[in-house]
Every structure is written in C-alpha cells, then in structure tokens.
Amino acid sequence: MVTLRLEDVGAYHGRRLALSGISTPAFTDGDVVAVIGPNAAGKSTLFKRMAGLLGGPGDVVVTGTRRGASGICYMPQDSATSAALSVYESVLLARKQNASWIVQDADLAAVDEVLGSLGIADIAFRSLGELSGGQRQLASLAQTLARDPEILLMDEPTSALDLHRQMQVLTLVRDLVRQRRLLAFIALHDLNQVLRFADKVLVLSGGTSRGSGSCKDVITVDLLREVYNIDARIERCSQGNGQVIIDGYRTPLPGSTEP
C-alpha cells in the first residue's frame, strides 16, 4: 500500500522559508487529494518540495512505493516551450528518463496508449511550439502519465482546459487512481470540481496548512470565509454532489499585502 504523510514540512525558496509547519495524516493509494488555497498560498512550492526539487525542514514520509523516488511524478504548471519536438517525442522522452537508452516496442505502445486515453492522438505529430494552451496542458499531462506514476503531483492540470476536457481529464485521473491504486495530489481552484472528484483535501494559505481531511469535513462555510474571504453557501445539488455557491466577497483578502 502506498502512503504519503507530511511531518512539519517546510520549503526554502532561495534563502526564504516559503512554507512551514505543514503536517497531514497519511494519505493512501486510491485517494484523490485536492490541494486548494488562494494564489501564492504555497501550492506549487509544496509540490516541488514533495517532488524533492526544493529543500526544507520536516519530512515527506512515503511508504510502499515500488520504484522509490522515481515513482513520484510531478507535473509543473504550464510552461511554454519553443522546442522543435513533436508531442509524441515529448511523451516518449518523459518515459525514457529513468529507463534504458534504447526505445523498445513497449515504450511506443505505452506512448500510444497515453495519447489515446487523453484523446490527443490526432495532435501526436504536431510541434509543441504550435499548440494552444489547452493542448499544451494535455501534452504535459501525457508526459506525466507516461512515466508510470505511483504518486501523482499535478499543479493545476486543468487551468487551461474547456469544461468538457476538464471533466475528461479529472475523470481519467480519478479512474486511473482507482484502477491502478495510485495516490494523486491535484492543485485545483474550482471548489465544485474538488467536491465532485476529490476524496480528501489539503488547504493551504499564507505558506502553511489550514486543515486537511475529507472534503466534507474540511470545506466549510467558515473555512471559505477565513481562507478566501468570500461569503458562500455549500448546498447539495439534486444529484447529491456538494456545491459551493458564492454570494459575495470582501476586501482585502486575508494575508495579502494590498491596502
């Protein structure tokens, strides 16, 4: 069983301590964990820390992975590239990073499968530089999934996608998590998507944790007021999903430096 637990985790950005004191109970495989919080709350920093790209105090305790650190696959936020590489090549190279140098049939089959499951086989031989923002995000997602993740860290994977593709991608990730017993952390802004797709949630604000646990327990009207400074109701829709309905906002955002 794969588990991940944070013990008093912090992270350095240069010399500045950008995150501190984040502790969580153990998340286990089969869970989709949404990481939420306002802009600059430290979501990306936490992902980089969890992926081992940033140093800092505390421990990210991972147990039960077959491949150790290479089983933790991090998908950074959208980064534009002008590389003269096709989508296909970019996915193949993501897969080949920790493997043997030679391309085998199994690699090509895996790339085809990932591109097919994301519905982007038709742009496989387009150059990365000429993709739209959404296509680029799907290509980036394909690169991450092609690495056979055991723990997925996805930084806003749906921020550039239309509603249909948001549903497609989040459903795909949730199904993968269930079928292959993965553990996925997804940074999301849309709380309704969080309530629909996530099992657990970790709330960040001002570089530290404001709570973690099951969505129902953590996402409350009080929390939304404290963290986002919005007035909202949480109601159950006719299909049984929780929904956040926003009535208004107050200024300024708590913790922000604006006057």
């Binding site: 950074p76 590239t81 590489l85 190279l93």
Partner: protein
C-alpha cells in the same frame, strides 16, 4: 516520422561523402573523382604521384574539415540546448576567441598554463581558456532576468576582450610569431596532419558517448528547467558537464586549425530544421550538417581563386554572417 528522419540522416551522410570526394579531387593537381576513389580503395593501382597527393597531402586536410566541422557543430548544438539560446555557439559567445588567446600565449611566448610537454601546450592552453570562458557564461546565465539576448551581448563583449588581448600578444611578440598568430586567427586547414587529425578525432570520439548517454536528459531540457527537473534530471549538473565537454570540443579544433567561425551556429540550425530536437536524431544531424558545411567550405576555398587556397575561416564567416543576422532579425517573430 522516425523513418523519415533516418532517411534525412542518410542523405546528409551521402552529401558528406560527395563533398569529401570533391575536396580530394580539387587542388593544384586536378584528379578525377574516379581517380580519387581508386587511390582510396586500391592505392597500388594509381600512379605514385596521385597516391602521394591523395593520401599524404589532401586526405588529412579533407578529413580534418569533416572532423572539425562535426566537433564545432556538436559543440554549438549542445550550447544552444543547455543555454536555451538559438544564437549560442562557441564562436559567437567568445569561447573560440578565448581558446585563440590561450593558444596564442603559447605560440608567441611559449607560456604554458599547465606544466605539460610542449606539443600539447597549444591545445591545453586553448582548452583552459575556453573552459574559463564557458564557466563565466554559465555563471551569468544563471542570474535572474538574464535573457537569450543578454547572453549574446555578453558573448560579444567577451569576443572583443579576447581579441584585444590577442592584439596585445601580437604587439609584444616577435615578427615570426606574429605571422604565425595572424595566419592562424584566420583559420586554415592546410596545416592539418594525420597526428592532429587523430587527436581531434579522439576528442570527438571520447565526448560523443557521454552526450549519447545523456541524450534523453538533454532533450528534456528543451521542455524547460522545471519540466526537466520534474523528470528527475539534475539540471545544474547536466549543464556543467555539458559545458566542460563543449569546451573540449571547441578548444581542440581551435588549437590545431585556428578560429573557424559560424559552423557551430549554422550546423545545428540546419539539423533542427531537418529533424527537430530529439537528440537521437538532432545530435548526429548536427554533426553531419557541420561536417558537410566545412567540407564544402574547403571546396569553395579552393575554387574561388584557382591556384590559391583561401583561409577557410574567411569563407565560413562570409557564409555565416548573413545567416546570423537573419536569425537575430527573425528571433522575435517565430520560435526557433
């Protein structure tokens, strides 16, 4: 797609073979292409004169053009990759100029930067200065807010600096040494020997597997540092290792044949246009393209004025400068 790229590589190799034969056939003694092939394959069946011309005089020079072209183009390709900069090459960023300066110190004053035998003095001096410059560029490229254009401007400053230092060396050197330095700053293959060819080939052969082993990581670097790091690539270490290898690749040709500019700029661009930046294809394509360009430049240097051989560095600059300008003007409009 992969098949099309392999075909393009084969075409480049074929072009190189044709250019090589042409290079061997041209010169003060004209030989037919068939005679050249005969002299190469069955040396005993041709007249002794043709044998000497092909094997002792022209082959080291012609092969030096191929090896130096491949080495400089490979160096340029990897500099462009790690600095994320389409205008990077050993020549445009001052690494070749630094190597020139290092070698000139040895040539004019017998100054050795490391205590080694005299025959290795020039290449080692050249390498140390090239390495030093590469590290300066590396350190500055890590600073925040440094763009591709800033690095190029910095490179120009370095070129000026080392050219000034080179002029200073010439000012203090003996007349004989000055002639040697001047001849060699223009770049010329005519002093190539089997020995120098062997060393340059050995350097290329030694660095190549190191690049091949890192080829997936180097390709990943083109997706951006964040992405490469997320794939588990140690970005800083990869940059540093690559710079050391690039310095080696740039320094040895400079030490033996002088400064030959723009091959490291034009070669990789042609390769990129043909096969893209997947290093499995980009790396051999860059080497082949660089080799073809320098080999053809060698041909051109012989036919511009019949009976004389132009310094090849002048020929490559005349081809390279318009290309460089078009890259600068075009860099804002399209991705590279």
């Amino acid at each position: 797609m992969a098949r099309r790229k392999r075909l393009l590589l084969a075409l480049l190799a074929f072009a190189l073979l044709c250019s090589l034969l042409l290079d061997l056939a041209l010169g003060s003694v004209r030989l037919g292409p068939w005679e050249v092939v005969q002299a190469l394959l069955t040396p005993d069946s041709v007249p002794p004169q043709a044998h000497v011309v092909v094997w002792d005089i022209r082959l080291p020079v012609a092969l030096m053009a191929v090896v130096v072209g491949a080495a400089l183009s490979l160096a340029g390709a990897q500099m462009q990759t790690i600095l994320n900069n389409p205008l990077a090459s050993p020549f445009t960023l001052g690494i070749s100029a630094a190597a020139s300066f290092g070698a000139a110190l040895g040539l004019a004053f017998g100054l050795r930067l490391l205590p080694v035998a005299a025959e290795y003095m020039l290449p080692l001096n050249a390498f140390l200065m090239a390495m030093l410059t590469a590290l300066i560029i590396h350190a500055l490229s890590l600073k925040r807010g440094v763009t591709a254009e800033t690095i190029v401007l910095l490179g120009i400053a370095l070129v000026f600096t080392f050219n000034a230092l080179l002029a200073l060396v010439q000012y203090f050197a003996t007349e004989q040494a000055v002639a040697a330095v001047v001849f060699w700053t223009m770049g010329s293959l005519t002093k190539a020997t089997w020995g120098k060819l062997g060393i340059t080939t050995a350097v290329l052969a030694a660095t190549l597997p190191l690049f091949l082993r890192r080829s997936w990581a180097l390709t990943a670097l083109r997706l951006g540092d964040d992405k490469a790091a997320s794939f588990g690539v140690d970005v800083r270490r990869l940059r540093l290792h690559t710079l050391v290898l690039v310095s080696l690749l740039a320094a040895f040709p400079v030490a033996f044949v002088g400064t030959i500019g723009f091959i490291g700029l034009v070669g990789p661009h042609i390769a990129r246009m043909l096969v893209g930046e997947d290093q499995r294809f980009f790396l051999p394509a860059s080497m082949l393209a660089g080799a073809v360009i320098l080999s053809l430049s060698s041909v051109v240097s012989k036919i511009l004025i019949p009976g004389t051989i132009f310094p090849i560095g002048v020929v490559t600059s005349l081809i390279g400068i318009p290309f460089f300008i078009s890259l600068i003007l075009g860099s804002r409009r399209r991705s590279w």
